[in-house]
């Protein structure tokens, strides 16, 4: 494949990144998708929208989030100087809030009075319920029954915030099924409802819109690393389920040839076992949930269930821009097993006093492997996409105890 002039130019006017992306939705939704696209284009061109978002970022979300030099991890792993981008310190505990503020402001501009969302680990659901409380919008969150059971604290939090959490029992009762249900709700309530998608997937314009709202992560890292070390980072690491925290970190650096970019998929119990969520490592291109991308599927094109210890990575697809970056080779995609992620969870917690989300622990686990292979002047940034409070039950269960 030819190397493009820029890796940041996508998508094209049809919402495609190479062959990926697009708008694969039922006709009932098409006019609405086009309306979202027009509204987003108008908002992007309107400086008051950016100013409004910036205001909430600073005073409500708590941005900029710090870039922290992880001295003990650096000493322990050897090699690269490890920095942690502290998205876990955002209000609600993860990067998800960045996108939710942006989309809720957009929904408000569009005059939509009802918000729906889907959630896996619950972080996107909590962030959506939070902005809906803030802007006084009724909120319905679809969540797989399996996920409701393993993410009880976040379910409780959503309810406290005034959201209605609707359990989804169809299919594997996880994130992909929650997304099906949210799409069904949207088809039935197109007039007043805005679908707040939580990751860089779904029909155009969602993948690029979510990326844009999350790009604040990478923009801050550029500036913060310059302040800390006087230059750009050398290596970026982030976990990837749908791909929003990674895309937010990566996108501002895609055209920097000196920056090595690595994304970490969830290998679950191991790629060879078939119980994993590694769409790029073990999937192939297909069409689901409004976009063409890499999917876990059988030979007949039926979607397969994903598996990861981390509910937030447990999705059989990946954002279309990632699919494209994989094919053109700009970003390296690797995978980390459940066991490696859990080990890294403990290492990060004990070495730095930072309890990472199990999602983020996948990125940390790869840092454990990668850092020693890099020189001591290599500046490595790991995106600490969220904090691990929500995962304490899961960890306790793995250790055979209860909270």
């Amino acid at each position: 494949m030819d190397k493009p002039n820029t890796y940041r130019g996508g998508p094209n006017e049809h919402g495609h990144f190479g062959i990926y992306g697009g708008r694969y939705v039922a006709e009932t939704l098409m006019p609405l998708i086009l309306e979202v696209e027009r509204a987003y284009e108008a908002a992007k061109a309107d400086p008051t929208f950016a100013a409004e978002m910036d205001g909430y970022f600073k005073t409500y979300v708590g941005r900029p989030s710090p870039l922290y030099f992880a001295e003990r991890m650096t000493a322990e792993f050897g090699g690269a100087r490890i920095y942690l981008k502290r998205e876990d310190l955002n209000h609600t505990g993860a990067h998800k809030i960045n996108n939710c503020v942006g989309q809720a402001l957009l929904a408000r501009r569009m005059g939509k009075r009802r918000i729906i969302a889907e959630t896996g680990a619950g972080q996107h659901g909590v962030a959506t319920a939070t902005v809906c409380a803030l802007f006084n919008l009724p909120c319905v969150v679809y969540m797989g029954k399996t996920d409701i059971e393993r993410q009880a604290p976040n379910v409780f939090r959503m309810k406290m915030l005034g959201a209605e959490v609707r359990p989804v029992t169809s299919g594997s009762a996880t994130l992909k099924d929650a997304m099906n249900e949210a799409l069904r709700d949207w088809v039935a309530n197109v007039e007043d409802t805005y679908y707040l998608i939580g990751t860089t997937a779904g029909p155009h314009p969602y993948p690029s819109m979510v990326r844009d709202f999350q790009s604040v992560i990478g923009e801050e890292v550029r500036q913060q690393m310059r302040e800390a070390e006087g230059r750009l980072p050398d290596t970026l690491l982030a976990c990837i389920g749908g791909g929003s925290n990674s895309m937010g970190l990566f996108h501002p650096f895609l055209d920097e040839p000196t920056v090595r970019i690595v994304a970490v998929e969830a290998a679950g119990e191991g790629i060879a076992t078939g119980k994993h969520a590694a769409s790029l490592a073990a999937g192939r291109p297909g069409v689901l949930h409004g976009n063409r991308t890499y999917l876990l599927q059988d030979a007949d094109g039926q979607i397969e269930e994903a598996h990861s210890v981390s509910a937030g990575l447990d999705y059989p697809g990946i954002g279309p821009e990632h699919a494209w970056l994989h094919d053109v080779g700009r970003v390296e995609y690797v995978s980390i097993t459940d066991a490696e992620a859990v080990a890294a969870f403990h290492q990060c917690t004990r070495l730095e006093g930072i309890i990472p989300a199990l999602e983020s622990a996948h990125a940390v686990a790869h840092a454990v492997k990668l850092a020693p292979t890099l020189g001591p002047d290599n500046l490595l940034v790991v995106n600490m996409s969220g904090r691990g409070d929500k995962d304490l039950d899961t960890i306790a269960r793995l250790e055979g105890t209860t909270l």
Binding site: Y24, A26, V187, A188, V190, G286, G301
Partner: protein
């Protein structure tokens, strides 16, 4: 009508008779491939004028629980796209007149290979395609190649499809236009006859193609009302529910299942026939 497709011939025929048609939807392979084939063979005699056959998919986002469950039953019984095409080919050996339209989602076709699928579908005797998640915006994927291969590509229009968008959708449509009468998923609410009538008038300002109306038609009486204003009524979830009601606790077909489903088709056909018998079908 030499060179006309089976779908075009069937609608011309219905028009000549001055009545609307009944389009029945069932999922291929539901509840298992053998029973499914038996139902399929019985449909024309029971009164189905056109047959919509669902290609099972694990994640049918625009369908309700009834049709999703029918897909899951079929998949659990080992149904594949290959076997769906075989089902059509078997049907064709006994019936060369009733149009068969495959309905479903794009991914199984994409996995099968578009060119390979189109060739196999034509060979099996498929007449048209309704692919729920392929709007005109993604026509290059299947709509254009299907048209080239001589298959009708049937587009959905919805209450949300406005007058600006409608011509864009209709210029690509062939065979007939499928009007989704509600904003919602299959098998849920029903639209009012007044709303459907107004929608027909609006659509007919933009197209000469026959218009079939679906989503929410559950009874012979409702089918009659729709037949009074449209060129065909599509019934899916109600038939799928009838089928599901004749399964035992293990999901296996009870002895009366085929009779029950075909009986319901006859009732619906009666409704459609009563709905419009007049000189000028338009």
């Amino acid at each position: 009508m030499s060179g006309a497709t089976r779908i075009e011939r069937r609608f011309a025929d219905l028009k000549a008779k001055g009545r609307a048609g009944l389009v029945t939807f069932l999922t291929a392979g539901d509840p298992d491939p053998r029973v499914s084939a038996e139902i399929l063979k019985g449909l024309p005699a029971a009164g189905a004028d056109l047959i919509e056959l669902g290609m099972p998919f694990s994640d049918p986002m625009a369908d309700g629980p009834a049709i999703q469950n029918s897909s899951l039953r079929a998949l659990a019984a080992g149904m594949t796209l290959e076997k769906t095409l075989r089902l059509v080919a078997d049907f064709r050996r006994g019936d060369d007149a009733t149009p068969i339209i495959l309905m479903g989602y794009f991914n199984p076709i994409y996995a099968f290979g578009v060119e390979r699928f189109l060739a196999a579908a034509r060979k099996a005797g498929v007449d048209g395609l309704i692919i729920v998640d392929l709007p005109p915006e993604e026509e290059a994927d299947l709509c254009l190649p299907a048209r080239k291969a001589g298959l009708n590509f049937i587009f959905l229009t919805a209450p949300t499809t406005d007058d600006v968008r409608l011509p864009r959708v209709l210029e690509r449509a062939s065979g007939f236009v499928y009007y989704v009468s509600i904003t919602g998923i299959t098998g849920t609410a029903s639209a009012s006859v007044a709303n459907i009538g107004a929608a027909m008038a609006r659509l007919r300002r933009h197209t000469d193609l026959p218009i079939a109306v679906g989503f929410g038609i559950k009874t012979a009486a409702q089918a009659a009302e729709v037949a009074a204003v449209a060129d065909a009524a599509v019934v899916g979830s109600a038939l799928v529910n009838c089928l599901a009601a004749n399964l035992n606790a293990a999901g296996v077909a009870e002895p009366g299942l085929v009779t029950a489903v075909l009986g319901m088709v006859s009732e619906l056909a009666g409704g459609v026939a009563a709905g419009r018998v007049r000189e000028d079908a338009r």
